[in-house]
Amino acid sequence: MRRAAGILLALAALTLPLWIANAYFLHVVIMAGIFGVLASSLNLLLGYTGQLSLGHAAFFGIGAYASALLTLRWEWSFWLALPAAVLAAGIAGWAIGRLALKLRGAYFVLVTISFAGVIALISINWMDLTNGPLGLPGVPAPELGPWSLRTKSAYYYLVLAAVALAYEVCRRLVDSRIGRAFVALRENEALAESVGVDGTRYLVLAAVVSAGLAGLAGSLYAHYTRFVSPEVFLFTYTVTMVIMVVAGGKGTLAGPLVGAVLFTVLPEALRAATSWQWQMLAYGLILVVLVFFLPRGIVPTFFR
């Protein structure tokens, strides 16, 4: 039953551009995919290790800027800039992890918020490199041999591949002794360490993989919107990610993806349905109702 549903879902995803002709709808789906990668990355930290990164937009922004700068300034191919963006964000995740995860909990939250603030300030003030608040326009669309991935349909498949990759990376980690170590640290750190789980090492590992995946999402975002500005570091991005993870179901693989689709489509649907004054009110109400009635999130409530 579950396998059949999975096959149907995969078929639907693979043929989606054929039955969604509207470019706007496809744009929403692409953004949902990019947020899906981002939410999955945050879920690795928040859902599995229990550590809340409130500066996750920093890793997303580092990925976006790294990829944009490498392709614009040094004319790297997108296919080299993409892994470089993952690496740059991963290195930032390692540094933050080493610095903050020895302390855990509230200290980690504070350090991640501060880190995002510092990175945002650098992006605004280092004019020579980042062009400051004006941002970096003209980020090139990826090319694959003779084909440009400029069209929404083509980019959709690139994002779909990234979602599949992020999902598979998370699944392989979670289904292994590494994933069990993550969960053990979230559940009972003292017991976890007494059975041989090196807390700091595994939390740093989670931070590196999580930041790397956020960098992947950042790179995809930069080459899709073709423009990067300090707005990628906005706190609202992080808040949106947290909402996606918590509402979808933290600590599950599908939860962040469900949350990403729901909370990318919802603002767009509300925009079409009502005036802007009511949009935020309706958004907030839906969020409160979700948290109140489905405190464990959508996926754990309906699919377990």
Binding site: V169, R172, L173, D175, S176, R177, I178, R180, A181, V183, A184, E187, N188, A190, L191, A192, S194, V195, G196, V197, L205, V209
Partner: protein, 240 residues
Amino acid sequence: MTLSVRDLTVQFGGVAALGGVSFDVRPGSITSLIGPNGAGKTTAFNAITGYLRPSRGRVSYGDAVLTFQKTSVFPTLSVLDNVLTGLHLRGRAEVWSVLAARRRVRAEESALRREAETIVAFVGLAHRRRDVASALPYGEQRLVELGVALAARPSILLLDEPAAGMTGAEKDVIGGLIRSIRDRGVTVLLVEHDMRVVMGLSDTVIVLDHGAVIAEGTPAVVQSHPDVIRAYLGTGRAED
């Protein structure tokens, strides 16, 4: 290997909770440390496991370093996953092999899962293997703790009041289990209040009173020892 405790002294300020306690725990035996309230049992236990730093004395177990394992469960994990987590150090897969070398990792996972299943069956929780640990009754949660401890393949197991808070039937189950653990060659040192459990289970009983060893021997010898009777009851039999 023999667990050897020599001249173990623990002082809290001016109060000597343990005053130069010495004893040996024979390999492959069940040895119980008993005594009335305030006798120093838990202090001795904590000093032996290294959780408490003794003021004086030495605890040796061959060349091995004793590691202290917290006894509790991972509450939202299943019984099987609790034991699998206890097997963490038995796995070798690191991040690159987890991401890239799937065949090797799958083989390792299957082996670990088989071992976890065996341990879960050994502690009598095969029928509960998929249940979330925190949803189990207290007695069964303690069996999960034992399963997690056994996953480390210990040669010695130090248990602090394993039967505390259990019903009579649960005490019989855990008693039988501790005997089976001993029969597998694991040395067991118990600190326990329940005299029925201690006398029915132990090969050797060491009695502490006011931070000193007042008697040591088989349950029958200790039960009839005049100092033990005096420590527990003043007069009469040494019953709890």
